[in-house]
């Protein structure tokens, strides 16, 4: 029952995040999507995934709130209660397929041995290298964008 409520919450908050008129309210609704997703992971037994999801979502939401407040156009109309009700209805309707339909698998095991999260991280050393490469790539991209803008501003 909890999983169903969480999945309905994810879809409703996703609809609200995309179709509310005010950007700050959209970001607030989007925080609900992140929170419900983390809780869904937690309830499903993926504790580490829930913690990572929560940690990543906090950073993303902080940046989204700041950019939403600073960059959005100020003169926006407020969402009417009718539209809000329609969005909630659409969210409930969209969550029905996930509740009542199912994609059945052919059954049987997938032939892969189970392992814990700690063992997996310990054995997959290549992940560390890839993660560090990603961080360096992002920093390099950021520096390239800043230098490009400065050169363009100077010329």
């Amino acid at each position: 029952m909890i999983l169903e409520i969480l999945s309905i919450g994810i879809i409703i908050s996703a609809c609200l995040a995309l179709f509310l008129d005010e950007v700050v309210y959209s970001v607030a609704a989007f925080s609900g999507t992140f929170l419900f997703t983390a809780l869904l992971y937690w309830e499903n037994g993926s504790t580490y995934a829930a913690i990572f999801q929560f940690a990543v979502s906090v950073g993303t939401l902080a940046i989204l709130f700041l950019s939403g407040e600073m960059l959005s156009d100020k003169a926006l109309k407020k969402t009417s209660p009718e539209k809000l009700g329609a969005l909630l209805g659409v969210g409930v309707v969209l969550s029905l397929p996930a509740l009542f339909l199912s994609v059945s698998s052919s059954g049987g095991s997938y032939g892969v041995s189970t392992s814990s999260f700690g063992n997996a991280l310990w054995n997959l050393n290549g992940l560390d290298v890839v993660l560090q490469a990603l961080v360096i790539l992002t920093v390099a991209l950021g520096i390239a964008i800043i230098l490009y803008e400065r050169r363009k501003g100077a010329s």
Partner: protein
């Protein structure tokens, strides 16, 4: 309760938002929703199989997602600084006007 269908629905909402929204921040939220749909499918399938490997790869997926978000936000700030708005239709309009002005000066 089927998490594959749930993730497909989230993915579809994200794609619909990506195609219909005009605000750049909403476009960014749509991209995040698509990423949530993908990771949800990944985590739920691997947890159903009882594997920690899926969660370990999830760390990789999250770091990729964060890197993509950082780059998109940097581009968003640059575009809004240059054109003074985050509305895609206004940005395209001012880009067209700029191109026309350049063509006239040449």
């Amino acid at each position: 309760m089927d998490f594959v269908i749930l993730s497909i629905v989230i993915l579809a909402i994200g794609v619909y938002g990506l195609l219909t929204n005009r605000q750049l921040i909403k476009v960014f939220i749509s991209i995040e929703l698509i990423a949530i749909g993908a990771t949800l499918n990944f985590v739920m399938l691997t947890s159903a199989l009882g594997q920690g490997v899926g969660q370990a790869y999830l760390v990789l997926a999250f770091s990729t997602e964060t890197a993509v978000s950082a780059v998109i936000l940097a581009l968003l700030v640059i575009v809004s600084k240059r054109y003074g708005t985050t509305d895609i239709s206004k940005i395209i309009k001012s880009m067209g006007e700029k191109a026309e002005n350049e063509a006239e000066t040449q």
